[in-house]
Subunit: 448 residues, 2 copies
Amino acid sequence: MKKYNTSPISGMQELLPGLQAEFNRLKSGIAEAIHAHGFQNIETPTIDRTEILLAKAGGDTEKQIYKVVKTAETADDADQALRFDHTVPLARYTVEHMNDLAFPFKVSQIGRNFRGERAQKGRFREFYQCDADIIGWGTLPIAYDAEAIAALIDAMQVLPLPSIKVRVSNRKLLNGLLEELNLNGQSKEIFDIIDHAEKVPHEATISALTELGIGSEDIDKVMKFIAINGSRDEVIPRLREFGFGNTGFNEGVAELDEVLTILERKLERLSGSGVSGEPSTEASRVLPTSVVADMMIVRGLDYYTGTVFETIVPEHREIGSICGGGRYENLASNYTEQKLPGVGGSIGLTRLFYILQNYGLVEASSIKPVDVCLVPFSAAEFATAEELAEKLRKDGRRVDIAMTDKRLGDKMKYAAKVADSAIAIGQDEVRSGKFMVKDLTTGEVTEL
Amino acid sequence: MKKYNTSPISGMQELLPGLQAEFNRLKSGIAEAIHAHGFQNIETPTIDRTEILLAKAGGDTEKQIYKVVKTAETADDADQALRFDHTVPLARYTVEHMNDLAFPFKVSQIGRNFRGERAQKGRFREFYQCDADIIGWGTLPIAYDAEAIAALIDAMQVLPLPSIKVRVSNRKLLNGLLEELNLNGQSKEIFDIIDHAEKVPHEATISALTELGIGSEDIDKVMKFIAINGSRDEVIPRLREFGFGNTGFNEGVAELDEVLTILERKLERLSGSGVSGEPSTEASRVLPTSVVADMMIVRGLDYYTGTVFETIVPEHREIGSICGGGRYENLASNYTEQKLPGVGGSIGLTRLFYILQNYGLVEASSIKPVDVCLVPFSAAEFATAEELAEKLRKDGRRVDIAMTDKRLGDKMKYAAKVADSAIAIGQDEVRSGKFMVKDLTTGEVTEL
């Protein structure tokens, strides 16, 4: 026999059923919380025109996109590739269907995206992203920036993490500062340096800025700016102290103020419900959550123009951001003259789930696929077992029947692997219609 | 501006949010019913090694498979392609993880598969399939054939169809017959002819068999055999009348008898619960369902070895099969010496959903994405709206807030598009804490 390699391709997630059930539970919990905020789910095709996918892209994206080879029967089609995120297909979708959508269009996308990156632990080439976006028609009030983040905060409540901290900033602030310092010609390079500032020593950031030819006085101002973080009360006055007449900067302060005001109100209610012990139905539990302004957050070279945010796990800062996003001025400028400002964010669930596993925060064994496994002694009891199974399923229980012709002990072993409890069915049970339920963890036996 | 084509690629499903919600409801309903039978969900990567995917394949599959171009950073990997069904990745998965699985392994897979077929109405190049399979370790009792079909019957209860008919046969019967007639050398060709017999006139089938050089007496026997269909009581005696000493044929009769016995018992209970009006929680309603034996069912050139089945909608026979499958002797003979017999079936949901739309059996408008839309008069009422929204979400309701700065009338228009009801919030409501709910269909106003 030819020897095949049956492992999945490197960079692909493949879970055993117990972990898959846990993954699915988190995915559903995230989806439910986002939909509870009035977001509508859509799905775009996995395969799209390369021309569309790469219209705005550059750099790594173009190198990492998976192109698809046309088959003999699809040869006439345009060049095709696998989508690498949800934003580009969303732009195409919104333009294609704009006459049939209600704006602001609150939209969720939960699906698999693809990037052919170098194989590396914790990096995935196929990965689930859970996106929530709000697209305006011409304009979109800043309150929606807070709403997008609020929906994602509710979504994250389902995650088995010690706590989360949402760090918010606004691109207009740094842009305004650089404008005032006449450094906006180098904003790309400076954004990149600030984006990495957290991961390197203080001095490395200064010397990187110096290398760009920026004077030490200006560097001081930039360093002072990116060090600003804290609650709204702490941050907004300090930003005002910068005292620029710069319009963009002042807009940024006002927008950040509004977003923080709404989110801090939300957190008070969230922690209120946590203190009273009242469980939130938006999630199975209340996850300690904080929101701060933090001028270190720029979201690198992405296309954001206003609000930007990232989410970290303070106990495990090394994880990096688990949910980030921001405001974009115009979703689909490549495909339409209609201005479509938007705001949104994304949870990278596949990577996050991998991390949760590594930290021992999710376990496969917590959920058994079956509530009750029925164990008929022989085929003579099948009919009774089937009838009982259907009754129990009507009560919402997951029920399996051990139909193998193995010995009773082997069937009970199977039951213990897949189920929380078992009901053995012999001729006595068939006659009496009375069934004993054995708890497979405690061994306790009770009548059904 | 360069003009982009923003339509999805031909052969790809892309739904508006209202239809997507309905699609998702059917998909979840199918998943829940299958899981209620104790099937465990798994997901395999969309991209797999071409060598694995094509190990058993041939014919159309090889022509229709989408190969994926490796990127600079994945260049060292094996050749890759998109999975075209769930069975091949399941075989690889089962072999790869066999030491960690409980057998019989009852497994569900619900995801997207890909075939680069010629563009054609109702044919999809990317399509959801909902699969339920049971894999045995060495052996797998025939009762599991009935269990796989029973789970899929429960899954189909969620479908908005007038009725369904499950047609069951067993490959061993036709194989046994051809062996007795010394025609087993031509079984591939004969299977193919019988598979198409339903779509062509009686005479065309006869002449196709004649063209193979089969004598008229033997053709008579084949034609008489494939005409056999009906309930267990009708069919089993007629099959026994064929009176072969052929071992395979007799095995086939016994297996078909057992499968039909279990499924007819199931249907009695199913229609019983329908008659009493008691709703099944396995589905939202009871779909009129019948099961018959039908010797016309062979499942073409597929790899089945025993039980085979297809499901039709008797009122719309032109649709063809909406759910089919069967027993395979050995799931993964290419990858392991371990014998892994299995049985399973699949619902092609994307194609089915397209058909349901064409027959007017699903509509987008039936579900609004939001239960209640809150309409604050101005930003001054946002805090009250947010608090109320969170309370309502805790009661399991989907709540949106119209945060635009448009006139009240425009906000109510938005609410009418996305929600079933609306609550306007002005300073009076903020002070009193009393809210009036307006039903957006009837116009009726009630206090919350």
